[in-house]
Symmetry: D2
Subunit: 309 residues, 4 copies
């Protein structure tokens, strides 16, 4: 999540990495946004809700503030529960949607990048997913395709590059370099995300074929992790594990002020003042975040192992 600190959101707009939540900010949910398709499925038995947001064209991208592409959000309240019997069906569901976006991957080389800071619990999701992956690229190199045929595995490599405060480098620099050398056909980036609502934390996975584009692609492509910047297909898998502290305060304030009959202008002005506060580099996360990260990262590893290993 570190990398998306200064993502140029306009003042007052609450920060979220979920296309689903951006969609919800439009005042009237039933109004169709031009260029954006919305689809929802709910599996009652498994308690898994899948929402697909497709941004078809530039109009949709402008309205949503997110690049053109497909955003699949899997909401599974049981994702962070202790009972492991819930995780297998979620991993299967997740694998299905990764395969859908990845296309035919059976014989492709995959690089999985576990973004984030291993030392900050809610940001350790990416590195922990990588820790549990079945890595095969070096084995196939050593034993030939016999290995992958015999074990029915794909060709998987992985890296947890760390965050800029640890490396002094942009994640995009590190990945671009590695990709040039090892030439994978598909990159999968795993990252902890910021949500707007506390209720979505650790219960939601977003899968998208747009990669990660901080600042909604407005010029800031140097930091982006997408096909344009990396030169290869990119699927991004994210789980909201934090809410920005400013967002949580803003949202409560805004609800209150609206309820109290303040006018939009007054609300905007007050919000602008709040922004000055030093809440900028603060996040909100649950006290049992260690357990949630452990379980969710395990489930995502399982999904990826199902797809590619």
């Amino acid at each position: 999540m570190d990398r998306i600190n200064d993502n140029g959101n306009t003042v007052g707009k609450p920060r979220t990495d979920l296309a689903l939540e951006v969609r919800e900010t439009f005042e009237e949910d039933n109004v169709e946004i031009q260029g954006v398709i919305l689809k929802e499925d709910y599996d009652k038995k498994k308690d898994i809700r899948v929402t697909t947001v497709i941004i078809k064209d530039q109009r949709g991208a402008d309205a949503m503030g997110k690049p053109i592409g497909t955003y699949i959000t899997i909401e599974a309240p049981r994702l962070c529960e202790e009972d492991e019997s819930f995780h297998e069906p979620i991993a299967k569901e997740l694998a299905k949607y990764i395969r859908k976006l990845a296309g035919d991957v059976t014989d492709r080389e995959i690089l999985v990048a576990g973004l984030g800071n291993r030392e900050v619990t809610p940001d350790a999701l990416g590195p922990q997913v990588v820790d549990n992956l079945f890595i095969t690229r070096h084995l196939i190199k050593e034993f030939g395709n016999d290995f992958s045929e015999q074990h029915k595995t794909g060709n998987v490599s992985a890296i947890s590059p760390g965050v800029m405060a640890q490396t002094g480098m942009e994640t995009s620099e590190v990945l671009r370099g590695i990709i040039r050398e090892t030439m994978p056909k598909l990159v999968i980036v795993i990252d902890a995300l910021a949500a707007r609502s506390i209720h979505r934390l650790n219960k939601t996975v977003q899968v998208t074929d747009t990669g990660i584009s901080p600042g909604s692609g407005v010029g800031n492509n140097r930091k982006a992790l997408n096909k344009e910047s990396l030169g290869v297909d990119v699927i991004a898998l994210g789980v909201p594990t934090v809410v920005d502290a400013a967002t949580i305060v803003n949202d409560t304030m805004e609800q209150f002020m609206t309820k109290q009959g303040f006018e939009d202008k007054e609300i905007q002005q007050f919000m602008g003042e709040l922004k000055e506060e030093t809440m900028n580099n603060m996040f909100v996360t649950p006290k049992n975040i260690d357990e949630s990260i452990k379980r969710i990262s395990y489930t995502i590893s399982e999904a990826l192992n199902k797809c590619f290993a």
Copy 2:
């Protein structure tokens, strides 16, 4: 911090573990609270402010909602800065105040307890302090007092017991058991605290001779870590590393409502409604909390090693 989840704070009263902040909640700072003495020193050169709150009697305890005893708060903005040259003077200052509360400890057996959850970054302070301590009890046992005389060390043992979700046991149960077996003369508990203000996070150390008393001693002594419950002198060393999410929202709201001219009753009512929200087990912490915890725990270890090793 885990252990102080449900500390029976009355509704509306913001949650803080710092006596200093409790003192500040009294409307007019200059009014003397009966039974409470306040003293402040500021070393401009080192930029270290030391505030001593002494709760002298039960009246003071009732007013403050904290047990009788001495609370020394050391505010050092440089505590979490990268430049290590700042840490030595802070460690020295801290050692001075620990010695003050500990009395003559040169030849006493000390048990240091690093409370908190190693797996949740802002709560890992206690375990990380213990990781850097110079442990000597087993060496003195093996080589006799010659060892402690030759190396001029005290007799130090230490434990990081983990939190209840990891052990199924109260920290007080674990410590009481260990104390009965090993009979230390002084217990020092290290813990991450919750502050009310974001501005104090990772810049403040509170040293107190009251130990830790969740729920301000109102009957809930089973969980307390103090002389009464452990049967031995207890010094508590704490650093605020988080703010409760509810507190941060409440404080902003309250300020706003007061400014807008709402009446106390209205504010109280609105705050009561807010409480219902699911922010209960959420905390706020800075994004670079890993670096802060690493530096502060190192400084505290140094202070303890200066005192006892």
Copy 3:
């Protein structure tokens, strides 16, 4: 493994924590040792070999240099393999033998102690097992027996006390104290062991009802973790993850000298000289020990969760 450094083994006798390997050192395998019963089962399909050594009386204990009791050794070459489908049947098998030694435990309070040093990879087995346990004692305390009935769980608490270099205390002191406070009916200690043979590393689990008795109970009971010292039933679960460096050199040398026709006296003398070497605090372990510990600790946690949670 830290705790068994100086276990008073007589010179020349290779060091091993496995009763099975002690048994093998008797020159002629088929000779019956008085007071010792040996039983072997092999499940070809699962490739799991179970050897039960029962030391019936003091004669057997003297001959074996181990306390009276039952030692079950489960050899499963697939224990450290990557393919997780192997782990489930091993966990089941292991659970069967734990239940056998534990007796009826469904409604008993269990304390699991993960011994060893989390910071030294081959010694991190115990702490890592504890990390994956389903801990319930605090939940039952909070929600009553309804919880355990509804979730069909036992009453499980756990602790990873660390090693003496970290705490300054004997593991036995820490556990005795905790046991006095929390009164479990059964203690299960998990520990990394030293084997004699490299071939057994990370492929073997020993389950015994004798606890852990460094120095074969000869007076050194202060350090022991058994019913006598802890006052409660103790089951020890151990996996050999290291070979003492001295052992590996000795064994090779001895084989060579025997083959070359040296006489026993000459061999003994040479071995005595070797002992002087500084290999005392050195161990041998495989380069991929991190992967093995991760897998095995997961399998053991699963076995314990099957039994008690």
Copy 4:
């Protein structure tokens, strides 16, 4: 250490990464090897011995089985001692020799690569050194050269790429890619090494301008980390933290057989047989390796921070 598993050493030749130890294998220490210069300094007060081995030409390289270049070995028995007052002078000494090999680096961009596996204690040296570095590249990028002038820092970036079993990629592939993107002027690789003698473990640092060349450069340049393969100056900093299990057995055997009057041919033959044993992927390391790695990595970080930050 992972990367140098199969380094094509000729049978019987004991494995060591230290030029100093290779030099010692020549039967008569005082005989000059053509093309190799040896220089030794001993600072009695600090108890630091510095040995410089310069391999001047191909003859020297052939004789030593190591590439042409300068190998500085700093032996400091106090390197792994607990008393921190010893570490400062060692860090200073180390910094002196790094500067010597690095040339004028004040205004050069440096990439530090912490090789090895963070999860295997004796192999975690590189990653732990990186954890304590003062990283500045991103700050200079953000705040301009003002930052480096004001703080008198160099331009430092760093990466801990992990080992092939974790990434599926050669370390050389990962570094080559990152170097192409970020264009540092100097790469410093930190790695745990294998020594021949137990007595050198955790007391020795080797600094060399040859980089790391598995298999002594004989064709196997794909895996090498040197100027030729990375296209940029490379300084390698290594600390022997393990001895190969085979080496320790071989050495003891060889000493014994020589003493017993066996002929070289017999010894060679026996050693060949020993090789077949499964000791190949086994290493020997001390039980307190966690403490040594922590201290040494801290000292090396300090040395690097002195040089470049």
